[in-house]
């Protein structure tokens, strides 16, 4: 079974802090994704990566950056946290990157981040 592990389930940070969210997958997937989930909005794609050191912006990249130095690890960085970044963050991995790949995404359990 694919396992996607997010380092923290709950995190509380202060406005202006630099915040790191970590995600590790154990199935050698090329593609990894970061989403944020807000009530009534579903999941929105922040960034994805299709290979080591490669990244692509998703729908809402502003205020975020990512890092993928190793295939199994994908980090989301909030450069200067703001209260509107309080949300649930979900990491996913997949063999394919797009909706026609016939490969579903496998999700971690999420990090609930609060910015005070």
């Amino acid at each position: 079974d694919v396992k996607v592990t997010q380092s923290s389930r709950y995190l509380v940070k202060r406005t202006g802090e630099k915040v790191f969210l970590e995600c590790v997958q154990d199935m050698d997937h090329e593609n990894m994704f970061w989403y944020r989930q807000d009530p009534g909005l579903g999941l929105r794609l922040i960034y994805f990566s299709y290979d080591v050191k490669m990244k692509e912006k998703g729908d809402i990249p502003e205020g975020y950056s990512v890092s993928r130095e190793k295939k199994e690890r994908f980090s989301l960085i909030l450069e200067s946290a703001s209260t509107n970044q309080t949300s649930m963050y979900l990491c996913a991995s997949s063999l394919g990157w797009d909706g026609d790949s016939n490969q579903p995404q496998h999700f971690g359990d999420g990090t609930r981040l609060s910015i005070l």
Binding site: G40, G99, D100, F107
Partner: protein
């Protein structure tokens, strides 16, 4: 462009009665369609997927969905609800070269 509409934000059923969660999509491409389930404080788990094979798709835990191109719908059904089905359900559309687009979710409550 692609979009997904989940017509009900909340559905409530009694245990043992049928479940219907509605999803309509819009896509300029030949779509792939998915249903995911999310239990409280958990990530999303794939229930089933449609990728242009059979229009009636069977998934895990007794769920199934029917792709109707003429109605641009992909509704999720289950003949008999169980208490453990209480969760949030997401309809997702994807296509070649396009990112996945998630619907806003439908929260399913199952009453004893």
């Amino acid at each position: 462009a692609q979009s997904v509409t989940q017509l009900d934000s909340h559905v409530s059923v009694s245990e043992g009665t049928p479940v219907l969660l509605r999803c309509n999509y819009s896509s300029s491409y030949s779509p792939s369609l998915f249903w995911y389930v999310q239990h409280p404080n958990k990530g999303l788990q794939l229930l089933l997927k449609y990728t242009s094979a059979a229009t009636l798709v069977k998934g895990i835990n007794g769920f199934e969905a029917e792709f109707k191109k003429s109605e641009t719908s992909f509704h999720l059904t289950k003949p008999s609800a169980h208490m453990s089905d209480a969760a949030e359900y997401f309809c997702v559309v994807g296509a070649y070269g396009q990112n996945f687009v998630f619907g806003p979710g439908t929260r399913l409550s199952v009453l004893p």
